[in-house]
């Protein structure tokens, strides 16, 4: 149907118009701000003018009246500036930027329902018109759109004059001849008149066409087409890998040569196709100066934005994914980081704050840094806030290192600024940034020096489709582990001694700290290896925690193409996808975070599911503390924080009495319940001696006696508590005096024994 065709053709034109106009407006913003810095630049002014002019022209053709009316006034203002009758002031710049926003919202509306919408932009229009008022006479603005658009490409006459081939008068004469109906082209007339050599004309034409080429050597391609190409290249990489497998067994030199060539070409093709999806990070950054400008004007600050490495390229999908987090980081830096000019001056800093954006490649990853020279993060404030919001308890916070305190900034529901501004500090913040970055396999780090500034560093992979991975074998199956999560590989011989068992939870001592171990075979219910002389441990990072994954065999690293799993397999959280190996077999890709959550190395709420990251940071290192060490049964080595212990006593076994089914003892004129830890924890070999060593624990004004087998020592050490090894009555395990020691969770024990005061009161 011709009607339908026409309609869809119109749709195409409008789509093109929208893309072009949005790009034009982005350029407009950028160049207008550059123009503020460089008011004399004719080039920038022309670019700004052209952007609006083009929108007006095309908008007029398509019949968008409001759009044309608004851009017309804007164009008038710019035209004055071009004439030199109006100078760019911050006020004018702000108004012009407001106009760009209004135009954007109209474009948005057009892309939605095709109409310009009812939004009233007359205020902007009036403000623009006011800028024109001081001038008594309005200049003639109705230009022929084509001449201005064509101005992008210099005209032949101008080129000839500029290269001194002929005088301006000669060109004028020739052009007049043309206007009077001479059908010949300008060059022909000039040659015929003898003012220019044919070679000079062709030279001029070449110069002109070079200008044309700059405008036309790029091509718009639909991203979905690139995605498809990317997938196909992925397939090709796999096919190539399969072919290469045969090179080991085949002797035919022709085949070997061809395989080699295929290998090289595939690699090159892969790189090439990946490049088509790469875009400079500048594309995202370009929008940021505008945001910074609006923000800093809004809160009366002065901020200069500097960029380094804007040409650093990233995969388009990743670029899209970091856009919002980056914007948020910028907002934070301007709103919270950089101080008001007066404060800065008082601190001996220049009144204008500096915001530096840096991007660079490092080790197959892209680093993006946002740093400011502002006030830095007040960790004390952060701490107080985190305690007030119940994110950490005071006790934990007191033991946190400076770095851990800083990372509290990533905890959800925390904002350090006292007054919530309309810009940031609305409760969603850095935690969202962190979650979003981690979703694409990146990491976020925060550094801050009070009074000097803050640095946020994001590390993200270059691309998501093809990733380097470590291939391991367990229970006869191969698994791929994404390299990003990998920290190191440990192989220990004579494993029995190096690996210790705490109530079924295995740990390995890695350079003095305890590494929880996860046995892949057990977790996945795969057959155990026949004999385990040596143990292969893959040390992995999940959220903020490290753990060791024990596998049967460590094979090799390989570039793998990630393929999603079908919907039926969604509930299996420990796999991130599947891939096809060089031999054509399918291998599963382990989801390290999912695996860690499944095995409770990190808590459910940790990581992806966005909740409490701070607690991980807290648990990672409970600072220096005094511990009371004691023995329960033959083997049990345990500890409680000394601060919880009120006294150590020794009672005669005969003095123990019973009350309401509980063992009690008379202690300081009161009845004190006794808990025999050996019996409660199920340790064997508890002494039945005549003397009972008792740790007296004071809770809510009441004493409770914990009967142990031997009081060992008091250790004053800073320990790393593996809090996620929390099993019932144990808080976890730690290395104390070079030995693995269980940490008893006394409140949990009392609760279990119904000796908890609060519970008693409720009952």
């Amino acid at each position: 149907m011709p009607g339908g065709e026409l309609l869809s053709e119109m749709g195409e034109i409008i789509k093109e118009f929208l893309i072009e106009s949005n790009e034009g407006l982005d350029r407009f913003d950028r160049d207008l701000m550059a123009l503020e810095q460089e008011p004399r630049s004719r080039e920038l002014l022309d670019s700004v003018f052209r952007a609006i002019h083009t929108i007006k022209g095309t908008g007029g053709v398509l019949g968008y009246k409001k759009l044309v009316a608004l851009s017309h006034v804007g164009e008038s203002v710019l035209s004055r500036m071009r004439d030199g009758t109006l100078a760019l002031t911050p006020e004018i710049a702000t108004t012009l930027l407001a106009m760009a926003d209004a135009l954007r919202s109209m474009l948005q509306q057009i892309s939605g329902d095709g109409g310009e919408g009812d939004a009233d932009h007359s205020a902007v229009q009036e403000r623009l018109a006011e800028l024109l008022i001081p001038q008594t006479q309005r200049p003639q603005l109705q230009r022929d759109p084509q001449t201005t658009i064509a101005a992008e490409v210099p005209r032949l006459g101008e080129i000839l004059v500029a290269s001194e081939v002929c005088a301006p008068e000669d060109v004028h004469v020739a052009m007049n001849q043309q206007r009077e109906g001479d059908p010949r082209r300008l060059g022909e007339i000039l040659v015929a008149a003898g003012v220019a050599e044919p070679s000079a004309i062709s030279e001029g034409l070449k110069t002109q066409s070079e200008h044309h080429e700059v405008a036309s050597n790029t091509l718009r391609v639909d991203v979905s087409l690139l995605d498809k190409l990317m997938n196909l290249v992925g397939e090709l990489v796999l096919a190539r890998n399969q072919v290469l497998q045969f090179t080991g067994t085949e002797k035919d030199s022709g085949f070997l040569g061809t395989a080699q060539r295929l290998n090289l070409i595939t690699t090159e093709l892969q790189e090439g196709v990946m490049k088509t999806r790469m875009q400079p990070i500048g594309n995202v950054w370009n929008k940021l100066p505008r945001i910074v400008r609006d923000l800093s004007v809004g809160c009366g600050k002065q901020v200069a934005v500097e960029m380094e490495g804007a040409e650093t390229e990233l995969d388009k999908t990743i670029l899209e994914a970091i856009k919002d987090p980056l914007t948020h980081m910028i907002r934070n830096a301007v709103d919270h980081g950089i101080e008001l000019p007066a404060v800065r001056t008082a601190a001996g800093k220049p009144p204008e704050g500096r915001l530096l954006l840096r991007a660079f490649h490092e080790g197959g990853q892209v680093n993006i840094e946002v740093s400011d020279d502002g006030a830095g993060i007040a960790t004390e404030k952060l701490k107080a806030r985190a305690i007030a919001k119940g994110i950490v308890v005071a006790e934990q916070a007191a033991r946190m290192s400076e770095r851990e305190l800083l990372h509290l900034a990533f905890a959800p529901g925390l904002s350090t600024i006292e007054q919530v501004s309309n810009i940031s500090g609305r409760g969603v913040g850095m935690d969202v940034v962190k979650t979003n970055i981690e979703k694409i396999g990146g990491t976020v780090d925060l550094q801050s020096v009070p009074g000097k500034g803050t640095l946020l560093r994001i590390k993200i992979p270059l691309t998501l489709a093809i990733i380097p991975a470590l291939v391991v074998t367990s229970g006869g199956e191969r698994f791929a582990i994404p390299q990003v999560s990998l920290i190191e590989l440990v192989r220990c011989d004579g494993a029995t001694r190096a690996i210790e068992d705490i109530h079924g939870a295995c740990v390995y001592r890695l350079r003095g700290s305890l590494l929880p171990l996860v046995y892949l075979n057990r977790e996945l219910r795969l057959p155990e290896p026949a004999s385990s002389e040596a143990v292969n441990i893959v040390v992995l990072q999940a959220a903020d925690r490290q753990f060791g994954l024990v596998v049967d065999e460590i094979n090799d690293t390989e570039e793998i193409v990630v393929k999603p799993l079908s919907k039926q397999l969604k509930p299996v959280s420990c796999f991130a996808g599947a891939t096809i190996m060089g031999d054509g077999a399918v291998a599963l890709i382990l989801d390290v975070l999912g695996l860690a959550q499944m095995t409770r190395v990190v808590s459910e709420s940790d990581g992806r599911s966005s909740a409490n990251r701070a607690d991980a940071a807290v648990a990672a290192a409970v600072g220096r503390e005094s511990w009371l060490l004691f023995r329960v049964g033959q083997q049990g080595r345990m500890a409680v924080p000394l601060s919880l212990v009120s006294r150590l006593e020794e009672f005669a076994a005969d003095d123990v009495e019973r009350a309401a089914g509980h063992e009690v003892i008379q202690y300081r004129g009161r009845v004190m319940p006794l808990i025999r830890l050996g019996a409660v924890l199920g340790y064997e070999g508890t002494d039945a001696g005549s003397k009972l060593p008792v740790v007296v624990y004071s809770s809510h004004g009441r004493n409770v006696g914990l009967v142990v087998d031997e009081i060992l020592d008091i250790a004053d050490e800073s320990v790393a508590v593996e809090q996620d090894r929390h099993t019932g009555l144990l808080r976890g395990a730690a290395v104390l005096q070079q030995r693995v020691t269980d940490l008893l969770d006394v409140p949990a024990l009392l609760a279990a024994q119904r000796l908890n005061e609060e519970q008693g009161a409720r009952a």
Binding site: L238, L524, R525, Q568, V572, G584
Partner: protein, 147 residues
């Protein structure tokens, strides 16, 4: 006014099943399979279908039949679905059969209820019965019952 329908047939425990030809992407012989630990039991594993990773569902297990005797390799009936193809593991492949809608009857009530939900109805052929398989249900993993 006879309505004809083409069914791709296959066998499970000697019973003849059929799937609409349009739903079948292809039928292939046994493929090496990668098991998926912790996955629901009816999922036999993943196969590499010319570079595409396809989940294979064991129809015997799905319908509560006895496990396939050791040494007998299943065949793959790959069916198209909205979210990508899925392979159904069957014992043997039959012919494409043209059936008459008039020979159709709903599945008898006496059929084991566990199997009945997968069977959309029965076509009475001359010498045997052809069970129409509901592919959507056949490849679905059991939803966790409302706990």
């Amino acid at each position: 006014m006879k309505q004809r329908r083409q069914l791709c047939t296959f066998y499970l425990e000697r019973l003849m099943f059929g799937v609409e030809v349009e739903k079948v992407q292809e039928v292939i012989r046994y493929q090496a399979m990668t098991r998926i630990p912790l996955a629901p039991g009816v999922i036999a594993g993943l196969i590499n279908l010319r570079g595409q990773i396809v989940t294979a569902v064991d129809l015997r297990r799905q319908m509560g039949m006895s496990p396939r005797p050791a040494g007998e390799l299943p065949m793959n009936v790959v069916v198209r679905r909205e979210d990508g193809p899925v392979s159904m593991l069957v014992d043997e492949i039959g012919e494409v059969v043209e059936v008459d809608e008039q020979s159709f009857e709903p599945a008898p009530d006496t059929l084991d209820s566990r199997r009945r939900e997968f069977i959309g109805g029965v076509y009475k052929l001359k010498d045997k019965l052809l069970l129409l398989l509901d592919t959507e249900k056949a490849v679905a993993t059991v939803e966790p019952e409302a706990a």
